[in-house]
Symmetry: C2
Subunit: 135 residues, 2 copies
DNA sequence: GTAAACTCTGTACCCAACCCCAGAGTCAAG
DNA sequence: CTTGACTCTGGGGTTGGGTACAGAGTTTAC
């Protein structure tokens, strides 16, 4: 058994987690990952931070903001499972709303493109007309 | 018949179009609406700009960027109907892609929330686990 | 032992679409 | 004719998630 954990410089940590060095510094600046005290001049990072950063990246792929991800990390003590589900559920509601909005926009655009394609070219473009209409 | 068109100060124009004065200045700065030469000290704006600004706002509601809206305005000479449809169609493709992405994210979240709700509270939260999983 | 590659701190910049402020001058209602 | 509401120019700041230096010091591979 070795008692000291492996440590990485910031550049190695960045390469291991497949992010830029600046991303790590940014995450530190917003408190998403800790900033170890310098040992001598440089700071050394535990390898466990590689997983932490990948955690963040996967959360982003689910559309979570860094603030939400920070909250997930904070809540991950086994005591707050319902709160964690709450974050995921709120995100789902937002996604549902966004999908609804996009579908409305999509069908409005489809209608306009269709009308435009079937309107005599001597008449004004229905797309422009619809935007210009006073309501 | 009155020969001179009605003119508005920037504040009246803003109120008529229901935007802020700063929005108008911003639109001027990016060339979306013209900046009339000052008459004396102040600039005076034709009422037709009210419609132009509402046009912009409605385009934004369809998810168009200001750059795309500027292009629509530029193309609106009766000669470029196909190009106008092209803008709308490209936006539709982007929207379709976005909807697909969101639906994938939504179902991933739904699965996680469901699994989390049906996992013994003595076990680690599946939402956290899934984000922490090494892949 | 030296040169390349790295790290440190700090600052500034990117995107879009604005918002807000200061200070000076101007216009219009009463 | 005063006073309050407006306009002008020019600058700054906001949000989120970073990227890009600059300049000085440090470590490491050969």
């Amino acid at each position: 058994m070795r008692s000291e954990a492996k440590q990485l410089t910031i550049g190695r940590l960045a390469r291991a987690a497949e992010v830029g060095v600046e991303t790590i510094r940014y995450y530190q600046s917003i408190g998403l990952i800790p900033t170890p005290e310098p040992t001598g001049t440089y700071r050394y990072y535990p390898v466990t931070l590689v997983d932490r950063i990948r955690f963040v990246k996967r959360g982003q792929q689910l559309g979570l903001s860094l603030a939400e991800i920070a909250e997930l990390i904070r809540l991950n003590d086994g005591m707050h499972r319902a709160a964690i589900r709450g974050i995921a559920k709120r995100r789902m509601v937002e996604i549902d709303n966004r999908i609804n909005d996009l579908q409305k926009i999509r069908s409005a655009l489809a209608t306009l493109v269709n009308r435009c394609a079937h309107t005599k070219s001597t008449l004004p473009c229905p797309i422009i007309e619809s935007l210009a209409a006073q309501r």
